[in-house]
Every structure is written in structure tokens, then in C-alpha cells.
């Protein structure tokens, strides 16, 4: 009886070992395949990125924030604060990062501040530009397209 149990356990252990071995070999095969694919992708669809300058890469990944952030960095003082209007959360987070120490607030989350902050400019994207005569348009010098507009709050 004991001998029978022993051989049964031995058989189960052998099957488990075989399964584990097959799993790991399959895993290795998968890893090598994916490594090959990664290089194929790097030399194929990602190859154009090698020849781009830092500015061109920024432009390729974030068309609008790059133009707006350059304008803000160039024309606004470091202590200025901006209120962004619109629903573009991605633009808000990128601008907040790119133009620091100038502060950027967003109308969608301004309610989260316990004390309402102050801002000296209102920023609109090309999708929600108001018809104000005081608006300073931010224009892409290459394509001549409007990227957004700034309005000074005390004007």
C-alpha cells in the first residue's frame, strides 16, 4: 500500500515537473520572440525618432503644449499664474510641469483648493477661444495655426 502511494506521488511529481519545465521553456521562447520584435519595432516604426532634435521630439509628441509653453515661458514673468479653461487635462498637467515656476490652475479642479488661488492670466485653447478683443493669440510660427489665447485678468 505504502509502495503504491509512493509510486503515485512520484508520478504526480514527474507530471508537475514536466509541466513546469514546458512552461519555462515556453516562457523563454516568448521572451526571445518579444526581444526580436522590440528590435524590429525600434529599427522600423520608431526609426524616425533617431533623427529628431529635442524640440522636434517635443513637437511630435505634444503639438499644442509645446507652442503654448514656449510662449508662456518667453512672455510671462516667473511669478505669474494662469487659469486654464477647457477640458484638456493632459494639457494642464504638461503645462504645469513645463512652465514652472509660473503656476497653472485648471477650471476643472480649482474647487479642490481649500483657499481659492489668484491668477493673472486666463488661458484658452483653440477649441474654446472667447471673442474678446483683449485676447493675445498664440500662433504656431510654422503652420500659422492658432494654438490658444491669453487674456490678462485686469484688462
Amino acid at each position: 500500500m505504502q509502495k503504491k502511494n509512493f509510486s503515485k506521488n512520484n508520478k504526480i511529481a514527474s507530471i508537475a515537473r514536466l509541466l513546469l519545465f514546458s512552461l519555462i521553456i515556453f516562457w523563454m521562447f516568448l521572451s526571445i520572440l518579444r526581444l526580436g520584435y522590440s528590435f524590429f519595432r525600434l529599427l522600423g516604426e520608431e526609426r524616425y525618432l533617431f533623427s529628431l532634435s529635442a524640440a522636434e521630439k517635443k513637437q511630435a509628441f505634444f503639438a499644442n503644449p509645446d507652442i503654448i509653453d514656449e510662449y508662456i515661458t518667453k512672455h510671462l514673468k516667473q511669478e505669474d499664474a494662469i487659469m486654464l479653461y477647457g477640458t484638456d487635462g493632459g494639457l494642464y498637467f504638461r503645462l504645469r510641469y513645463l512652465v514652472y515656476p509660473r503656476k497653472v490652475y485648471w477650471e476643472n479642479n480649482i474647487g479642490l483648493y481649500p483657499v481659492k488661488p489668484n491668477w493673472s492670466y486666463k488661458l484658452y485653447t483653440e477649441k474654446n477661444l472667447p471673442s474678446s478683443k483683449n485676447i493675445k493669440l498664440i500662433i504656431d510660427s510654422k503652420t500659422h495655426k492658432i494654438a490658444g489665447g491669453l487674456v490678462k485678468t485686469n484688462e
Binding site: 513546469l20 526581444l35 520608431e46
Partner: protein, 438 residues
């Protein structure tokens, strides 16, 4: 130019850490690869803590103030150890399989490094949190509570921001493109630490094999250089791996100097991400449970001091302690959470077969004290992660899709270590034993 400075800076950090580990007599007589890969983490931790304390005490950050003391330390170490420092010797493995595996690992590292330089900082969390704090700390010249309130990330630890801004202090400007390489370095150091710890437990051929399986996981590569480079999850995974492996070595031991350093390292994740605090609490409980044997309570104080530093700082500056204290447990989410979690475990495109192998091996592993403790640590931390989804005010199903992969990454090196040890025990060791007995 900044790329070269970054490489020099990484070597500098590794040297600082290696000298500290040498003085603490950790890794004496063990591989230099292990010494320098874990030394990097110690060096990073020392700079983080130094910058944090200097900021709190109002000492302005400058190259001289931040790096001068460490240069002096290295010079003094060199003088004290004159003639006793063993030279670094690089020897390639002899077998052809080993050479092929090593080449594959080098290719993976180079791939991650190239990828990290192809794109600007684009990861959402990198832009919104980690690189934002790095830039903010550098421009503000310290950690300002107003800056934390402005970002609305009041309970986020400052470690990643501090290490990024330390490099900005060194080069005198913000260069986020080059700084992305820091994350590839964390990847490389994690692989080196993994390989050297594993090669102490099995022949080099098998340890290289398992390190390759580990290194080629897509989720890891994404954070090492692809789209999610710049997230704090990979550095946290590195620190979890290092601190847990060292803790497992030193539980129940009496070496005072080593325990001071290991206890310090086990608390460093607190400064990297919020999840680091729960890991520290788990490790601290295990340390405390071995106190009867070691009677080294004083040595454990180093880790607790770090834990206290960050929390006292938050209290003192009026910042939020943790969002976890705000919510309550919602058990009606169980089905949604369970299905979300399960679908992540079987996501082969992200993890290859890692989690599937892990869940099979937990029924087959050899019940040694080390294996049991390792599993206990993994499951306790995993349980905390799942618990978060029962508490968070956000929609758990959407949050699992957006965050659970990153949480799993923290535990992935430990899980892979367990898989490697157990697979070796089941598949290879019996064959080697048979061959020897014949």
C-alpha cells in the same frame, strides 16, 4: 555632455554606497557586482536623506554642500583602506550558453537605454508627479509645503523628486531628457543585484537564465525606458527587492553594524512612494519578531527614524498624512475587484508567464524558512494593494486598469526570485544531485 555626467554621478553614488556597505561589513568576500549594485541604492538613499534634512533645516542646496562631504568621505575611506582595496576585475563567463545569455541581457539593457532617449518625458505620472517634484524642488531650492499644496499631492514622498533634483544641482539646470536614463540605471542595477544574489544560490548558467526571463518582462522594460520611464514604481521595486533580500539574510542575526544599514535600507522605500510605508511596516514587524534572539532594538531605530522623519515632516508642515485614513471599506466591490485583479495576473503581454508560474509554484515550493518568509512578505504587501481598491473613493474597476500593473511591478522582482529558487529546486537540483551520486 550631461549623459557623461550622469554616468559619473551613478558611479559616484555606487561608490558612496559600496564604501558604507564595506564599513558595515555587509557583503565581505562576496561579488563586487553585488556590492556596487546594492551600493547604488545606498548611495541614492544617502543623498535623498541628506537633501531632505538640509531642506528641513534650511541649508541651501549647492554642489559643494551636497557632494563635498561625500567626496571627503571617499578620500578618507581611500586613505584608511590604503593598500587594502581589492582591484575590480571583470571576467566573462566561460560557457557558451552563459555568454549568449549575458549578451542577451546586455542587449536588453542597451535597448532600454536607447528607448529612454527616443522620447521626451511623456508618462502621465512622470509629468504630473515625479519629474514635476524634481523640477520644483530644484527651482525652489528645497521642499516647500506650498509647492506640495499647489500640486495637490500632499502625501506623496519626496524621494524621487530629490534624486532627480540632486542631478539638476550637479549640472546646474533642468535636463529631463538625460535624467530619464536614471530609470534605465535602476533597471540595470536591479538586474545586477538579482543576478548576483541568485548566482550565490545556483550555478551562473541558471541564474543568468532566470535573470533573462526577468529582464525581458515588458512591464519592466516599459518603465526602464519606454513609455512609462519616469515613474517611481521601478525604483520602488529595486528598493523592495534589495531591502527584503537583505532583511531575509539578517533576520535573527546579531551583527550590529550590518543590521543598522539593513534596517535603514528597509525604511528607504517610505521616501520613494506611499506603498513603501506598508512594506516597511511588514518588514519592521518581522524584525521585531526576531528581537528575542538578536536583542538589537537600538539597531532597528535607524529604520524607524526614517519612518518618523517623513511623517513628522508632514504633520509639522500641515500636509495630509495618508489618503488611506480618509476612506472606509466597501465590500460590495469584491466581484469587480476580483475580476480586475485576475485579468491582470493573466495578462501575458505585460508579464509573460510570470504570475501564472508563481501561482503554480506556491503549491510546489520547498518549505524553508527563507521561502516561507519571502512568500509571507509578498502576500501581505499584495493584500494591502488589493485592500486599497476597497477603500479608494474612485471607481475601483477603472483604477485597477490604470494602476494595478504598476503595483504588481513593485513585487515582481521578489516574485521572480521566488520562481527562480523554486524552479531550480524542483527541476535542476534533483538532476545535479543524481548526477553527483552516480
Amino acid at each position: 555632455m550631461n549623459e557623461i555626467l550622469l554616468i559619473i554621478y551613478v558611479c559616484f553614488l555606487s561608490l558612496i554606497g559600496a564604501t558604507i556597505l564595506d564599513i558595515a561589513k555587509i557583503f565581505s568576500g562576496r561579488s563586487k557586482l553585488l556590492l556596487f549594485s546594492i551600493g547604488f541604492g545606498v548611495g541614492v538613499s544617502m543623498i535623498i536623506i541628506q537633501m531632505f534634512l538640509f531642506s528641513w533645516l534650511g541649508i541651501a542646496w549647492s554642489r559643494e554642500v551636497l557632494f563635498g562631504p561625500w567626496l571627503l568621505w571617499l578620500v578618507l575611506y581611500g586613505i584608511a583602506k590604503r593598500g587594502k582595496i581589492s582591484h575590480l576585475s571583470i571576467s566573462l563567463p566561460k560557457g557558451s550558453i552563459e555568454k549568449v545569455l549575458l549578451v542577451l541581457l546586455v542587449i536588453l539593457f542597451c535597448y532600454a537605454a536607447i528607448e529612454s532617449q527616443l522620447r521626451p518625458v511623456i508618462g502621465w505620472d512622470a509629468v504630473a508627479t515625479w519629474f514635476m517634484t524634481g523640477k520644483g524642488f530644484f527651482i525652489d531650492g528645497g521642499i516647500r509645503p506650498e509647492f506640495y499644496r499647489y500640486l495637490q499631492i500632499q502625501d506623496n514622498p519626496p524621494g524621487m523628486g530629490l534624486i532627480l533634483s540632486s542631478f539638476y544641482v550637479l549640472i546646474g539646470k533642468v535636463d529631463d531628457q538625460v535624467t530619464l536614463l536614471f530609470f534605465t540605471v535602476f533597471y540595470g542595477m536591479l538586474l545586477c543585484a538579482f543576478l548576483s544574489l541568485l548566482s550565490e544560490k545556483m550555478p551562473l548558467r541558471y541564474s543568468l537564465f532566470f535573470t533573462f526571463l526577468f529582464a525581458s518582462t515588458q512591464e519592466l522594460l516599459r518603465q526602464a525606458g519606454r513609455f512609462e520611464a519616469g515613474y517611481a514604481d521601478l525604483p520602488l521595486a529595486y528598493f523592495f527587492f534589495v531591502s527584503t533580500c537583505l532583511s531575509l539574510e539578517y533576520f535573527g542575526k546579531r551583527n550590529f553594524r550590518s543590521i543598522v544599514v539593513v534596517s535603514f535600507l528597509s525604511a528607504v522605500p517610505i521616501f520613494i512612494k506611499n506603498e513603501g510605508s506598508t512594506m516597511y511596516i511588514i518588514l519592521a514587524f518581522l524584525w521585531l519578531s526576531s528581537l528575542k534572539k538578536t536583542k538589537n532594538l537600538f539597531a532597528l531605530v535607524t529604520g524607524f527614524t526614517l519612518f518618523a522623519f517623513w511623517n513628522v515632516f508632514k504633520l509639522n508642515q500641515g500636509l495630509q498624512l495618508s489618503y488611506l485614513f480618509k476612506g472606509s471599506l466597501d465590500l460590495t466591490r469584491t466581484t469587480a475587484i476580483f475580476s480586475g485583479v485576475m485579468s491582470e495576473f493573466i495578462n501575458i503581454s505585460r508579464w509573460n508567464l510570470l504570475w501564472i508560474a508563481f501561482f503554480i509554484l506556491i503549491f510546489l515550493f520547498k518549505k524553508t524558512k527563507e521561502n516561507v518568509l519571502l512568500l509571507l512578505i509578498i502576500f501581505l504587501q499584495l493584500w494591502v494593494y488589493i485592500l486599497i481598491y476597497f477603500i479608494t473613493p474612485l471607481n475601483p474597476a477603472a483604477q485597477i486598469i490604470g494602476s494595478f500593473d504598476r503595483l504588481l511591478l513593485h513585487l515582481m522582482p521578489l516574485v521572480m526570485f521566488f520562481i527562480a529558487l523554486t524552479s531550480y529546486d524542483i527541476l535542476i537540483r534533483p538532476k545535479l544531485f543524481d548526477a553527483k551520486s552516480k
